[in-house]
Each structure stands twice: as structure tokens, then as C-alpha cells.
Symmetry: C2
Subunit: 266 residues, 2 copies
């Protein structure tokens, strides 16, 4: 899978691009099932909202087959290798729940700010990848991105440990207002199986989900191997230390796995 | 201004209808200015979020000329008289701020539940009217309505005094899920000057606004005069006691006022 010149230009100009229908329903269904099983477990990698609802599950690609296959999928690796021009390793892997009724806010932030400050990542040569496993709608807490905000480097941020259960380096309102005045806000929506990719310095947030519609998204951060983290302070299941280049699975691997999974369940 | 048969049918079937372009920008601009002046005051009628940002201002039609004119405007009175078949009085009048970055959630609720329980309103013969004075977008905390939910009468509710600064009789998640399964969710958006009317028993909510775009809406509750409240427990600036039928102003009254206001400011 190769990005088109217009997708590459959009990434340069705006810091994001969207790939609808990247995975088919059959492939996504198994990810939804496995996400629920993981959220129901009491692993240390599962973080919860203040209400107890799941917020995020880290590192699922290290302990679950379906997510392991997704983390090495050529439909995700291909475009990022094309943009970054080299082989990739997995810096972070999360399954964010944004649960029905209880999914809380993620305040405005840049991911690379955290990777630089907390993990010692040298440059923003890593891509954020959001794989929708539920339908993302305008009303169930879609990701909001500020186009062009990736051109400002790492912006000053404060460490928010109060708003939610997940500590985050967040931007102040004046900074967000200035960036939105220049670039606006987009909130890409779409069917399960759609994929959104965005620059590590792109400012983004998501509002709480107060609807009955869950909004689960798998987030992969694929980092250029030469850009591996140097001074990690977080556990290795949050900021991974396996810097070996990821070898892609076959394009059919997730579909094959899904069919075997379904057959075994019958 | 008369509703069309298809608007009347939509109200019967779904419990809401939408009137885009009901007021022009010149009319709305004065309401925005006056809302800000009221929010900046320290009147008891102005309630704030936990952060201190304005949440709502009650009874502005009793102490501000622009809102007094809006509260007697034939473009609002006409459709509601047509639906309810009699003269109207003002039960409640609020200017809700849903401030940029700080506007907090309104949990799922029916308004008539509160009017019945707290004010002793005999029947749901009162209309909720939302006059957009900012652009309402998918991302800045639009009202979400559950179509058809007005056909279930007053649903069991619990009194939520914890989530926000505004106590509210709210519905549980199982009830909301059941209603949304049947009716879905709509979140009407539109330019300033658009008007949304909905049934007192229609279930609705709005998510927090974490964007830099304020989302101010004037809410009027016009009640059939024969349906006046019988056992008020809330202050008379929250649940009004003036049951005299409202005499409409001229259709040009708000525009005339806006032009005079602008001339005086120059």
C-alpha cells in the first residue's frame, strides 16, 4: 500500500491523512472482541477512568495474537515507512476505550512532547496511527486535530495529573486558540476499519463520550529505528525498548487469524 | 410565521424541529454582546461552572431589553401557539454559555421531569426553544436529542447534584441506551440565528465544550397559560410566576433595537 502524492502533500501541509476502509469488518470484529476481553482482565497494562470504566490498555501487541498481527500489518507499516524513509519499531501501542457514557476527555496535547520529555525520543520521526474499531461519529468523542499545528515544534506544556487518570503534558488555552485560529479543527469520522495517521507534533484532543456508542480506537506509534528513545523514564510496556525493525506479516494475516478465531469459537 | 404540515408532523413523530435562519446576524449580534455583559456581572441569576466560567444566566428577559424583546418575539411565540393552541407565558428563560474550553456536560434528562417535580407543572404543554447565538458545530458541545423519546412520559430519574454546578434530574444509562436504540441521536448544528424547538419530554444532553469556540444558546420555555405551575419550589427567577399571556412585539422589534443599540455605541 503506497500513499498518493496528494496524501503525502496533505501530510506535509496539514499533518494528517485519513484512509477509509483500510481494514474490513471481518478483520475489525476480532479486534473488538479481543479488546473487550483485555478490558475485562485485571492486567497492570489496563488503565481505568475515575469511574472504573476502561480508559486504555497498553502493549496489547505483546500479549494478544490479533493485536500482534495488527502491529506488524503492512497496511500500517507501508505508509509510515514511505513517509519516514526507513524501517520502524513500535514505540507505543494502546487500545483506547472512550467507553459509552464514561469515556473521559483527553486534553489538548502533542504526543511528541511526551515522547521527548518522558522517553528521550530525539526527533518527531514517529507516526501516530489510529485504527477505528468502532464507528467514530461526531457525537461519541472523535479525535479533534488542529491542522498545521505540527509546524510549531514542541510547544510549552504543563503536566496535567488532575483532570483524568492519565497524566499528560497539556497545552494552555491561549496556545490552542492561536493554533486553531490559524488551522481550524478537523474531527475525522468513519466506519470501523478506517485509519487516521497524524504527525507526532500535531495538536489533538478528544471530548468525553456521553453517548451509548463506544468509541474504541487502537493507537500505534511507529517510530523510525534510528530515532529510538534514549532516556526512558516510563515502564517498558508504555515506552517499548525493542528497537528491532518490525518485519511485516502477510497482508492476509489478520483476515486469516479472524477466520480461524471465528471457526474456533463456533 | 406558521409551521408547515411536515414540521408539525416531525414534531409529533420525533419531538423536535429546526428553523434555520430564523434571526439574522444583525439581530443575533446584540444578543451576544448583552450575554457577555450579563456573564461579566455578579448577579445572583448568573451560575458558574466549577472553574468559574459562566454556565447559565437566568431571567435575562426581566432585566435586559434585547432579551425582553426576544422573549416576546412573534417568530418564537407563533409556532408554539400553533402547536399548543393557546396563549403562552414564560416559564423559564436561560442564556447557556457552554464556554470555550470550560463549558461542562449537561447529563441526559427531560426538562418536563424537572418542571413537574420541582415546579408542579401539570402537563408537558410547554415548549423548549433553543436560539443559537453562536454557530453550533459538531465539535463545540451541540445539543443531542433522542428522537421519539418524548412518547414515554416522565421517566424515572435521579437527582444529580454532583456532576456539575447545576442540579438536574438525570436518567440512568440503561434507560438512555434503550431510548437511543429505538430513536438514535440527532445533534442539529447551524449558524447563529437558527432555532431548535423540542418537546418538554424529549431526552437530551450536551457534552463538554473543549474547543476555543463558545457555544452560547438562549433557552426559552414557553408554557400554555392554562398549564401554569401549581407548586413552585424554586426561586421566581428560575420558575417564573407571571402567568399573564405574552403579547408579541412587532416582527421588526429586535432588528430596530439592534440598530439603535449599534448607533448608540458609535
Amino acid at each position: 500500500m503506497q500513499l498518493t502524492p496528494s496524501q503525502l502533500r496533505q501530510f506535509d501541509d496539514e499533518g494528517w491523512f485519513f484512509l477509509p476502509d483500510c481494514f474490513r469488518e471481518e478483520e475489525v470484529a476480532v479486534l473488538r472482541d479481543e479488546a473487550e476481553a483485555i478490558y475485562a482482565s485485571d492486567r497492570k497494562e489496563v488503565w481505568r477512568e475515575k469511574t472504573g470504566a476502561p480508559r486504555t490498555a497498553f502493549a496489547a501487541h505483546t500479549y494478544n495474537d490479533a493485536f500482534r498481527i495488527l502491529g506488524a500489518h503492512p497496511r500500517l507499516l507501508g505508509p509510515v515507512e514511505q513517509v519516514l524513509g526507513e524501517k520502524l519499531y513500535m514505540h507505543q501501542f494502546k487500545v483506547n476505550a472512550k467507553a459509552a457514557f464514561e469515556g473521559d476527555v483527553w486534553q489538548w496535547h502533542q504526543d511528541y512532547g511526551t515522547w521527548a520529555r518522558d522517553d528521550g525520543m530525539p526527533e518527531p520521526r514517529a507516526m501516530n496511527i489510529a485504527v477505528f474499531i468502532d464507528e467514530v461519529m461526531p457525537i461519541n468523542g472523535p479525535l479533534m486535530l488542529v491542522p498545521k499545528s505540527h509546524k510549531h515544534g514542541v510547544l510549552a506544556a504543563g503536566h496535567d495529573e488532575a483532570t483524568t487518570s492519565y497524566p499528560l503534558w497539556t497545552l494552555d488555552n491561549a496556545t490552542v486558540t492561536r493554533l486553531v485560529d490559524a488551522g481550524g479543527i478537523v474531527a475525522p469520522t468513519g466506519k470501523p476499519g478506517s485509519v487516521l495517521m497524524f504527525h507526532g507534533n500535531l495538536v489533538h484532543a478528544s471530548a468525553p463520550n456521553i453517548t451509548p456508542y463506544p468509541r474504541r480506537i487502537v493507537y500505534l506509534t511507529l517510530c523510525a529505528v534510528s530515532n529510538r528513545i534514549r532516556r526512558p523514564t516510563r515502564p517498558d510496556w508504555i515506552a517499548h525498548r525493542d528497537f528491532a525493525p518490525i518485519a511485516p506479516v502477510a497482508d492476509s494475516a489478520l483476515l486469516d487469524h479472524a477466520r480461524a478465531y471465528r471457526a474456533a469459537a463456533q
